[in-house]
Symmetry: C2
Subunit: 142 residues, 2 copies
């Protein structure tokens, strides 16, 4: 591979849910993510510049979708999957208070060997959503 | 929610596979991602600064994992899920050539209304991996 040929990061992270409105109460209302697109089979949220969270309606995405620009391949997922947001370490207490006020239980807290802290909560479909303050991975330091 | 309380983007994106070595031939060897952590139940790849791709061994992540710093909640997923890497528009032809040379079929190409182009390939487990050049979402422009 040519040395210059590298991906530039991750654009889309997916989570699958059984009810888009119920999911929006979490991702939109509680987390405050802006919903850029609201459709029958997905909601697309702005997680950061160039970072999109796709919330897919489970069972509605298995078929390929023809568009004027080409065929969007189908995909699907069963089970509570996992992804993680980045949060600032200085905001951890504010997140704890915010979740408490919103009635969202923190199911676990982990302090990592590198010094970071993660709060784990479940979205309304039981997906395992982590809020991770650095330092954690070698590419995620303070 | 206090106006200042915002996630800072997505740290971890997950994909589930049945064989970590076979997955590494794709994510490590063909895509050139650096594997930061190699374990029995996951590989962690550096997708970009502060962006980690977690490749989980399906069936090995369902149980909570006790650590000295706290309990890491279990999760799992069945089925070919979806996520997307960012690529530069100027690199699209190089990616097409690279996939051809590596024996990876491009299962679809999509030109988006905003002008971006996505190449879709399957990883060895059939996960739908997109390589997306801008412009696509409102937060992903050139």
């Amino acid at each position: 591979m040519a040395n210059s040929l590298r991906v530039r990061g991750i654009l889309e992270t997916s989570v699958y849910v059984d009810d888009l409105d119920r999911a929006h109460a979490f991702y939109g209302d509680i987390l405050g993510l802006e919903r850029m697109v609201s459709g029958d089979r997905l909601s697309a949220y702005d997680a950061a510049p160039g970072e999109t969270l796709l919330v897919f309606l489970r069972g509605a995405t298995s078929q390929d979708v023809p568009t004027s620009g080409g065929l969007v391949p189908g995909h699907h997922s069963e089970g509570p999957s996992h992804f993680a947001f980045k949060v600032a370490k200085a905001d951890l207490n504010a997140w704890r208070a915010h979740f408490a006020q919103a009635g969202v239980s923190i199911v676990s807290e982990v302090t990592w060997p590198a010094g970071g802290v993660s709060l784990y909560v479940n979205d309304p479909d039981g997906n395992v959503v982590e809020f991770a303050a650095p330092a954690l991975w070698p590419n995620y330091r303070e």
